[in-house]
Symmetry: C2
Subunit: 401 residues, 2 copies
């Protein structure tokens, strides 16, 4: 019924069965008897629908998809059987009736204390195990269906970066570029906003930074955050005007059917000045080295990607500018992508974990020069058996405008 209005694919039933099956395996390992999924993104992941609802997954037996509002949409969107409920309290009776009991699991990384207490009362339980680790782990490995959605998200990125090439001009404000590029992505079918998991985790859809605005960091855990136009947001594009010779760094997030891509390119009016040219060349070399000869692939230690990048930064004499400066340096060069922008894996020397086939991550070598500005490139990779595959086809060259 909504197809002509929305156009996105419905999540296939096999996908959902597979995801729920993997959740049950994780629960069984931890001795959890049933999980209650309440966060909207996790609900979408397991049901294909993002209505007001509650998903109960017993470690054995069929999941219960309990929908409060809007049941018509949930029915259209999700192949799972639905049970209509009037309120959260009704969940208890249904669980009892189905004979579900034992140790409960909930998403304790996002569930607020007040809501947790309410659910403990509803379920008449004393405590619950945290299932968020299991969910985040299984969500970090994408199916071919999910990769197809990520590629459509990447097409929006490609379109926006191609548009930027003809649009960005000297004298514009960062904000003008932000507004126009965002609008262009939206017209192309961008979902409207990006999601980040956790309290205080907020994202702009686009960051246009230029010169000193790109070297001023915020409280956010990102290498380049921009200043924004208010202390109440404290990140994003500003009123700063584009000057020749200094790069305009565009960090844009595609969003299609929930799936997020996240890439960065640099544009410059006239000839690019130092230290940005040197920074750009190092970033480019890091990306080329990462993709070279298929050394990075399923099984590769994620920390090795960071360490090789740092080695190049050091060789180019840019170590102190790599991924930030001083206390504002971030400890990662990449982050997982999916329905949220801070998924696993994190590409950092602190996580010595093997990349798994189907993981998808943004990889963003960036250099910050205090008081002067910043430069960097960001591309998205799919971890394949024998290589890393790029999601978009947008070249990583500097674009002269």
């Amino acid at each position: 019924m909504l197809t002509d209005l929305s156009s996105c694919d419905y999540t296939p039933k096999k996908e959902l069965e597979n995801r729920i099956g993997r959740l049950k395996e994780g629960m069984a390992e931890k001795g959890i008897d049933y999980a209650i999924v309440l966060q909207n993104v996790d609900l979408f992941y397991f049901t294909g629908s993002l209505q007001k609802s509650y998903l109960v997954v017993p470690v054995e037996g069929d999941p219960l998809f309990l929908v409060e509002k809007n049941i018509e949409r949930a029915t259209a969107e999700s192949p799972l059987d639905q049970i209509s409920v009037a309120r959260d309290k009704d969940v208890r009776g249904i669980i009892l009736e189905k004979g579900i009991r034992g140790k409960a699991g909930m998403e304790l990384d996002v569930l607020p204390v007040t809501m947790f207490r309410r659910w403990k009362t509803i379920l008449d339980i004393e405590d619950a195990e945290d299932v968020s680790g299991i969910i985040r782990d299984l969500r970090s490995v994408k199916s071919e269906y999910e990769i197809s959605q990520l590629k459509k998200s990447g097409e929006i990125c490609e379109h926006v970066f191609a548009f930027a090439e003809g649009f960005i001009k000297e004298g514009m404000r960062e904000l003008d570029i932000d507004a126009a590029l965002n609008a262009e992505g939206r017209r192309k079918g961008h979902q409207g906003f990006l999601r980040m998991r956790g309290l205080n985790q907020e994202m702009m859809n686009i960051y246009v930074t230029h010169g000193r605005s790109g070297a001023i960091v915020s409280g956010a855990d990102v290498p380049i955050s921009g200043t924004g136009i208010t202390h109440a947001i404290s990140q994003g594009s500003s009123f700063n005007q584009i000057m020749p010779g200094v790069p305009v760094v565009v960090d844009y997030g595609g969003g299609y059917n929930g799936y997020i891509t996240d890439e960065t390119r640099a544009y410059v009016a006239g000839e690019m000045k130092e230290p940005f040219l040197r920074g750009y060349q190092a970033a480019r070399e890091i990306i080329e080295e990462t993709g070279r000869g298929g050394w990075a692939k399923a099984g590769t230690n994620a920390a090795e990607l960071f360490n090789r990048a740092l080695k190049i930064a050091k060789r180019e004499g840019l170590a102190e500018h790599f991924m930030g400066y001083g206390r504002s340096r971030v400890g990662f060069i990449g982050h997982g992508l999916g329905l949220e922008i801070n998924e696993l894996p994190v590409i950092t020397p602190r996580h010595e974990i093997p990349l798994k086939e189907g993981m998808v991550f943004a990889f963003e070598p960036k250099f910050i020069f205090p008081g002067e500005g910043s430069i960097g490139i960001e591309v998205d990779y799919i971890v394949r058996k024998d290589s890393l595959e790029r999601i978009t086809g947008t070249p990583i060259d500097i674009v002269y405008v």
Copy 2:
């Protein structure tokens, strides 16, 4: 240092002192010895800065503003004294050193369980009281400074609605209007996104709905949500094309220096058809009745605003379409505005509370006709001693395009 990049006012010191003073009064009433503020919006409210930080407010004595990152920005933005900390764990030692002890208060409505447990360990406490009710109550009454910021936010709304008048045309997609209006607001200085408090609370910056897309509701607690273009977001503008005679309902949220305004207007190509004309006239009458003769003002029972509106809807034979239809009806006609879009007061028959001078709320009589579409008007009011004052000057007439 950031003034030319950001342009917004810094929060005056007197404001912050007043807010912290009121927080302490609320804490004293509840026997809370110290509060730890962790949510970013509350941090901005009490410190004027939204960096990565922790605010400790003892019921007696000076607040401790502990900043992890970025301390330079926090120093520029906040008149409060700052203490630099390297990590959350450092808070414990500083609290002990200052002799702060006793019953702790935290924002349990938003604090996730995992983070709460971490803080209980850091502070070596067994439990904490919920201070979110105190904070939400005191935030619901705006100072004249806050009202000045809300008025600037309203100016962005006014600008966007004026732009819409010349832009909206038959044949466009909802999404085209969404993209262009959002871009226009951003260029005018819109902060970039709107905030909503709580888990799963998500907002688009703009909703453009038309015909049947306006009559399909989502899981969100709003009368008109639109379908969006993906089940993963499930609200907002769609690919639906504008036809003559059927209203384009534009619900737009201004955002300036954190402060949100939220208004709705209707545009129509050609002559507006029934049942929309009847719905529009009822919505208009409700707004005129609400502003008539200064009966609604500080001290008025908020429920009375809802009840008078419902009476008009009934008289016009539109009761079953008022604020939704069937199970998807929402139970309110207005909601508080401020740094978040779901602030207090809620204008509903369920809350018999007197409006307080300085409260600000959106008031949105809307009518939903299943399968056909929806129509409504939304204006923002400041509660004054003797009246309700409108925030924007945008007329509530239908705009014929």
